[in-house]
Amino acid sequence: MTPTDPPEHDPAHCRQMFAHLSEYLDRELDEAACRQIERHLEHCDACRACCATLARTVALCREMPAHAVPEAMSARLREAIEKLRSGDRTVSGARPD
């Protein structure tokens, strides 16, 4: 615990920690880097608040509800596939080799 440690309050250091918050949340950093961020978060209110809202943003994205597929989509797709099978190359999506 070194609350007066100068690097913690250096804007350049803050920016450097801030740049890696997503990797920190995704557990993509090694032990040492993780601890460095955690130590910074203990002392930097701004980064701590940012980390919490960033984590929530990611969680909300992960929980986004899915839209239902339009009813006609499957039938239209089946029709296009059958056309393709029967050798009709004019179907949308087909491209000449």
């Binding site: 990797e23 701004a46 929530r56 986004m64 509800p65 899915a66 597929v69 499957s74 949308s92 999506g93």
Partner: protein, 191 residues
């Protein structure tokens, strides 16, 4: 299943469609913003899968291959975006400012997720994603909505993993700004 389809069992192909069509349709919606475009993209994707399934290499995950085809179908059908100007997002525009320092973690980041995420917020998040510049949008959609790993996302988009991480972080910060704004304008929510 893929071997069975390649051996001529066409019904198995429709199983494949059933399995992935909703995920692909939602992916298309999130990238293109329009249901009609998303539907066309899904159709293009499955037609291409049908045509090129014989060339599929089993050392890649089928789902990754599928999304690579879907992504190029999106790009082919891309219209000039009405939502998002093409621009770089820089880290500095998202750096926390002094005025935030005294602020506690806001309610929307503390309350149970299911109480926060209602239809209105879901729409707002969709709008925020569509407002992302195109270089960032697919990265966030693949990582945080579709659940692909950094490596997989890099493969699908033809980027380096480092590039995926940088873009993802900025994209998340961008969406976070929109959410902050949304909650700050709504007294019921920020209370």
């Amino acid at each position: 299943m893929i071997e069975a389809i390649n051996a001529g069992e066409i019904d198995r192909f429709y199983e494949l469609v059933q399995r992935y069509q909703q995920a692909l349709f939602n992916f298309g919606l999130r990238i293109c913003g329009q249901a009609a475009d998303a539907e066309d993209m899904v159709q293009d994707t499955f037609l291409n899968v049908f045509k090129y399934l014989k060339t599929f290499r089993f050392e890649t995950q089928f789902k990754n291959w599928l999304y690579r085809i879907a992504m190029s179908a999106c790009i082919k059908r891309r219209r000039r975006s009405r939502f998002a100007p093409e621009r770089e997002l820089s880290l500095d525009e998202f750096l926390p400012s002094d005025e935030q320092i005294a602020v506690d973690t806001p309610a929307w980041a503390r309350e149970p997720l299911d109480r926060v995420l209602d239809e209105e917020l879901a729409r707002r998040i969709e709008d925020a994603i569509l407002a992302l510049p195109e270089a960032y949008r697919p990265v966030l959609v693949l990582r945080d909505l579709e659940g692909f790993s950094t490596e997989e996302t890099a493969q699908i988009l033809g980027l380096t993993p480092g590039n995926v991480k940088v873009r993802l972080h900025r994209a998340r910060l961008f969406v976070r700004e929109q959410l902050k704004e949304y909650f700050s304008h709504d007294p019921h929510r920020s209370a």
